[in-house]
Symmetry: C2
Subunit: 337 residues, 2 copies
Amino acid sequence: MSEVNRQILLAARPSGFPSASDFQMVSSPVPDPGEEQVLVQVIYLSVDPYMRGRMSEAKSYAAPVNIGDVMTGGGVSRVIKSRHPRFAEGDIVEGITGWQEYAVLNGRGLRKIDPSFAPLSSALGVLGMPGLTAYFGLLDICKPKAGETVVVSGAAGAVGSLAGQIAKIQGCRAVGIAGTDDKVAWLTGELGFDAAFNYKTVSSYRSKLAELCPQGIDCYFDNVGGSITDAVMALINQSARIAICGQISQYNLDKPEMGPRLLGQLIVKRARIEGFLVMDYAARFKEGLTQMAAWLREGKLIYREQFTEGIESAPQAFLGLLQGANTGKQLVRVSPE
Amino acid sequence: MSEVNRQILLAARPSGFPSASDFQMVSSPVPDPGEEQVLVQVIYLSVDPYMRGRMSEAKSYAAPVNIGDVMTGGGVSRVIKSRHPRFAEGDIVEGITGWQEYAVLNGRGLRKIDPSFAPLSSALGVLGMPGLTAYFGLLDICKPKAGETVVVSGAAGAVGSLAGQIAKIQGCRAVGIAGTDDKVAWLTGELGFDAAFNYKTVSSYRSKLAELCPQGIDCYFDNVGGSITDAVMALINQSARIAICGQISQYNLDKPEMGPRLLGQLIVKRARIEGFLVMDYAARFKEGLTQMAAWLREGKLIYREQFTEGIESAPQAFLGLLQGANTGKQLVRVSPE
């Protein structure tokens, strides 16, 4: 066991797109757990778009990370010392640890993972927050009906790839928007999306969407925002339901972007747009995980994970995520299983 | 009885703000009803913001009026000849007649009005489409709870003035936005709004709203859109519900306006925006009218009507409406009761 805890701190608040210099790696002694605390060693760190928001001082649903503090993040860890009645040495747990190799935690929000059930990393993807986000966002907000057309932006990401597959399970036409030809091939080839396109190589989002959604768009699961969402909005059907899960196209802008006003279209189409956070569904996580695990066992859900190696690679993994470098779930392998 | 039917035709499609020259008055013979038809004489013509949409060729939920056709509109009329089994001479009816003194109708969508129940004109306001719009938009889309803050834009209009009063009946704090000091005084003085302001004389919509909504904004009933709505969006609370009833600030623009993108705020606040059309609630009109009539009898709803005289005044009444000249319901008195 390493005697030092390597940590990634927030070094500066980025204006616009973040860079490696906004982070700083430091080493500190591995801490000891106090009473009712555990010491965990991080195995996999989850890398997620929401982390961009925590780097910023703008008011949001969660407090920002302070300059000089360990970057926030969740992961799968192993309990290596426990002074907490609920956890024993060797337990595998999922929860917020921050971008570091070791963390002392008080057990709140920490869930035990059964390592025999599924690969450990899946607790950060299909059987974790991204899976629950796709599940509740699609089923609870979009409420798709069989035969309807569901468009997913950011479709090759951890959440989007699952949202589209859940739409297929519901009997819908699933249409994905992604940023590389490889992602598009993965969506239509392996994941069963009915159609998908690379937004970086089409001349008109709207024409392409109109071609791939001949019956219009009933549901939209939005991870991206911006002009992609403008194009979708122009093609929604009457009583369309739009779930706003993320707006990654807007996270790295110096100042808020202007766009065409879309509220008039909501009247014409009697449509609904709703933003959501998965944490608001905490009381129903068990339901979501049970269903996702069942679909996984039945072979109805396919997922992909991508790893960088070592806590020192976390900034690069995160910057890549913001640029769309990942297909499926982006993780950092911090220590061996 | 006049031998001629004076009609207002759509003469030209306006680009931007309409003018009197977009309409043309013609006289034609009073038509005879065919089998299963009635001839009605219009008493009151309703003047409504939606009419601006029908002057335009832009795709919407209803077909545009063709150039040279009678302008569309609804009103209260008297049956003067009937060849329809459901209607008798002398019946008072409410329904679409167009901007003219006489109309031959087939009875579809025509409802009989009991003239002993309430003033005839109220069938075009508090006990008609505007009342139902306020009722379903507020109660079904905003779903306000006692103690919450409800903001209404276009608050002194036919719909907005009722939406705010229904919010008060629900035990909410009602805050109105209107365009003259007289309207503001009417809202807070007679109608019981807790607060209101004249958007034309404040230096910052947002500061004024923040002052009048110290607990934030839980529900927003929007008739206006544009920068007023931007200011409201900045102040919404978690789980806010926003009903988009109209966007009158946008109806007379040459080209779609750009505005700050607001979908990110929906995530932060887990908020919902929904557009609606009252006609989608047709199956529940009886419920709405029964409740509105009960509140009216109990003295819980106050309304105001404004009249211009003669069908020839319809264009002026309509242009005034688009400029905010009306307080409460704008009507044209086409013939005596």
